[in-house]
Point group: D3
């Protein structure tokens, strides 16, 4: 089985970290290929960056399809709360897995109420929106932010772990969560710290998505094309795919 | 007062029709400027096209801001159910009005239950999503589709009006709607036909958005910057604005 | 355009204050006429007073209709959370605007989550009821009370402003609101104080209702008569209109 | 035990029919006194008439209180979906029972999904509103109307029974109801007809309210005065109680 | 009238206490018979014990039916939040009353928002589930636990009353409840303590269920057999009724 | 990995069919052991049978635990909409997977709206309840019944497939489903028939549960013991485990 994991931002460090997490969740026979858009933002902390990244991952997939190089059994979209899953589901016949939704699915399977701990407070609302649209908000106790942006997390990983663990404690004691989802990608060691220090299971979205991708592909199932994810009509587009129009070779 | 009306697709015909509808709803002292993205799709009938158009309108606004040429008091985003409003709200200090939300606001003010009649069935789900996220779904009786795509509407406007009126009748008799919102932009004469033949008020989203923009600007109010619409952090982006990277002059 | 603004209580001071707020939101070509019921309560702090005031404004409108003196394009009902809007919508062919609903509409247009700050705690429940029935509760973060009754507000306006601003701060910091609606009518200077001291937009219901009335009337729209707001059957009534039965001349 | 049953309209026929239904549900030791407002409407088919009747029953209760003649253990408000219960709950220390809510309570106790069958279609919305505000809408399968107004029901009772039974059949077969509530007061014989012909339990609101009143009073419980039903502040009112101002003796 | 009150656990002390509470709520002409399962758990503090007790009460009813000894007009299931009501409703033609649902019904009739105070925190979730399934959660302000298990309550009744009263105070001041339901059976004196010290009505589920049973039976109503409570198909069962298979004589 | 699949009814045929479906979804390294309760019902078509089966599977697990013979990494509870999952989650430290919930999780991952097609109409309500409690109802378009009981399905499998396919067609065309879940266990060939004839993905709950069990166990996660699934207190029980009390050897 081959799974394409798409980091929606353009940070190579983040792509590498996501690849590590994805690979750790892969079966022996599963190949993980992790890549990033050819253009966009180095981190995603706003709606504008989220839309830009959605178009970036669409572009990356479009290039693969156009080149006849799309040979994957599933796609994981590794942006927590970001846009774009529905567009990929339309474009592809293989199933697409959003890490925010997958974390929530796994959390719901092993507990009664889950909380999400994300980076900045401004990301709370889009994550709530994603859970609401996915119909996964009923058992969400809270979405909380540790207050650190991407750069700060990179600069002080140990401090970031402490900040996330502290927020996880609040999720459990104040909001009644019995599972915590990590609302960001690529943070090694945090799930262990939460399990150890908070005493509740911690779900990493990338690992959850890879696991669910393997499960669904193993069942022989894929995105329903009978509804909203049917391929779109062929309305003429200019400058598409954008990376080709920008003169980038594959 | 100056209002920028953004058609998210690249069809000049549609842009012109939107301009007519917007201008008709403008006060004597209100200037309407209607424009379209520099790249993208000629029509929007999929999630992929919706994201592409969101980035297209972000690009158009970014160019205006970068050039010091953004001198508007409000922006209307004239895509019914399309993405992008939240990104513009982040980027701008003036208020932004989505035509789907504005149609729903006006419908709720004058009736108890509204239905939306859109073009293709595949657009029903994104419109439902938009209303759900905006908190405006409670009084939505139904979202219905007349089954005609953009090209068909263009080829046979009179037939399109009949198809929409027929669906509006079903919305009233079967779903209990007492107001009908037009779920597409730029269809002259449909609101009159619905009012005349169905006997319920019909709301055009572009007109509604222009009217609400004038109301909110007149109140001296604008987008709250205390929450999710605060300006995003300055994460480095490549190839932005895209139209400049693509070598387009303004 | 002529707008009738109905203060549902009988306090002339309050009527005058509402008239000032309404006039400030009116376009140059809009005439504001502000009046109060011929009988009822000097303030509305209970369900009983709310029903009495609803009948009072119905009576005022009935007299105008009976005398052929109703020459308005819209009616604003200036009681925050009070009853009566649906009755006026039945009686009239011009649209009717409730200040609680209009404040919520405007708040939703410019932010993600709004709070209402009202006078006494006992008014919280009826305001919640009004928002729920109007389908505008989904983005309501909280309804809070400053704890001061009408008399206290009149006796110490500066103290009232301080109390409301304090509660607005809690709405923003504890409940996550990014817009605050004033849950009472006729308090000059409060919206400015909230904007200045709390840093979020503040919406005054009377101003919002006048602005939305102008917008809807400008769109050529009015209350749908195809549903629940159709004129009622002519069941015989005694002593109606009450003010005539009470021997009051117009 | 003494229960005051308030018919909110002024029709003596209806008052008599309600008294029969209430008396049939009373225990041997329970005295039923049934009365109507001193002014108002002979039937209630609109929001305006509903508000007028709410003030009418408030007036009737106020007169009793003022005269020291209120010697009841509970009050039943016998308008299905009408306003006023909350005002009476404020005014009185004994509990108040709304027949729409009580019918829904009893229906929920004996089935999984109930439907209401009322008179005119225009009464559907206010009944839905009442159930929503009472928190009793979750198990409501539908509110349906038989299409006959009060006068028609009076003129052809047998035809009215047939029309209601037909609608009850639809509620069961199309909407999945397993209990039917009669959405009007004073129709002898309908519950038997529904039980016999439709095969589901039928709940009469007046009987349900009397039964629940006896149950709650028997438990020694009454309206909580710790929240929204605390007595209102003493704001000055003019012409109150209205019937006294209108010159009516008791 | 004869009411069978089923204590779902096997503690004779608890059965006796429930009998006292039930008898106190019975009319002069109502006979209360209180019994417990022939096997099961001495207390119910887990889902496993709740299922075991549901089968225990089913067994007790089955024995009565098989012996032709079921001569009751109604059944009260005296487990707060426990399973089993739906099974009894299928098996019996007389109505079945769950004490958690009945407490919520009565609380909703006399207040606007109720809280439940139960024993251990682990019982909060099942009570919330029961209210959600019964459609009675909308006006539930909170379910709180006093933290004492059954044994502790038995060992120190006065301390238990203090703990429950303290939690009731929090429900009123922090959660906005105006009625408190006791989330356990058989605690004499607690309702009085709550009323006296907290100033809100307190509802005991056993008393509420007996009162509502008398009300519903008095109305001549019973469980609808037109839906989910129709008798089940006769699938072959082994070892049923279990108490007979276990060799117990009646 | 070893997965214990529990058929909650006692039919050996059904146990065998479930084993086939479970084994087909197992990885090469996964051992499936399928068993049934030692007592109970041969089919589950009522709440009473559902509770009895819940206790039956609890008994089966208890015996394994008591004998030190529980050496599984996960448990699948193969009753669609039946009770018991929460009890097993309390009793075990390995995760437990309910086939109704798992089917809904997988359906939500690959489509926007799913329908469930079950056997008898009386099973619709319990399945709706299970989805509601699991927080998975938001994207459920409908739960439908093909009208055939277990015996009829066994007697005419081809006819059962046709009946289910017909109902699946209605789910897609009338309710807007784009995925169909099979609301029963052990029907070979139905998912293929639905995919082929209806054109939407069909999800079998047993296969889905085995796939998700493998995914969750592969992630190193298990049931959270920090909340409602913590082991219950040790209240004394009589006759437990029941099968031992009934004199059955293991």
């Amino acid at each position: 089985m081959r799974i394409l994991v798409l980091n929606p931002n353009t940070s190579p460090t983040m792509t590498a970290e996501i690849a590590v997490a994805a690979t750790a969740a892969a079966h022996p026979g599963t190949d993980i290929v992790c890549c990033a858009p050819r253009f966009g933002s180095t981190a995603i902390d706003s709606a504008a960056e989220s839309y830009l990244s959605a178009v970036g991952v669409m572009d990356a997939v479009e290039i693969l399809l156009a080149d006849g190089a799309f040979d994957y059994d599933a796609v994981v979209l590794a942006g927590f709360g970001e846009h774009g899953r529905d567009a990929l589901a339309e474009m592809l016949t293989v199933p697409v897995f959003d890490i925010a939704e997958c974390a929530a699915h796994v959390a719901t399977l092993i507990g009664r109420r889950f909380s999400v701990v994300t980076t900045l407070a401004r990301s709370i609302a889009p994550i709530e929106d994603r859970l609401l649209l996915a119909g996964l908000d009923a058992h969400c106790a809270s979405v909380r932010a540790c207050g650190l942006g991407t750069a700060e997390v990179d600069a002080d990983p140990a401090g970031a772990v402490r900040a996330i663990v502290e927020e996880a404690v609040r999720a459990v004691t104040e909001d009644g969560a019995d599972v915590v989802c990590l609302g960001c990608a690529g943070m090694a060691g945090v799930t262990t710290a939460i399990s150890d220090e908070v005493g509740v299971p911690a779900v990493d979205g990338v690992a959850a998505a890879v696991a669910l991708a393997q499960a669904v592909v193993g069942l022989g199932l894929s995105t329903s094309k009978a509804g909203v994810y049917a391929p779109g009509p062929d309305n003429p587009r200019s400058h598409w795919p954008l990376s080709r129009a920008l003169g980038m070779s594959s």
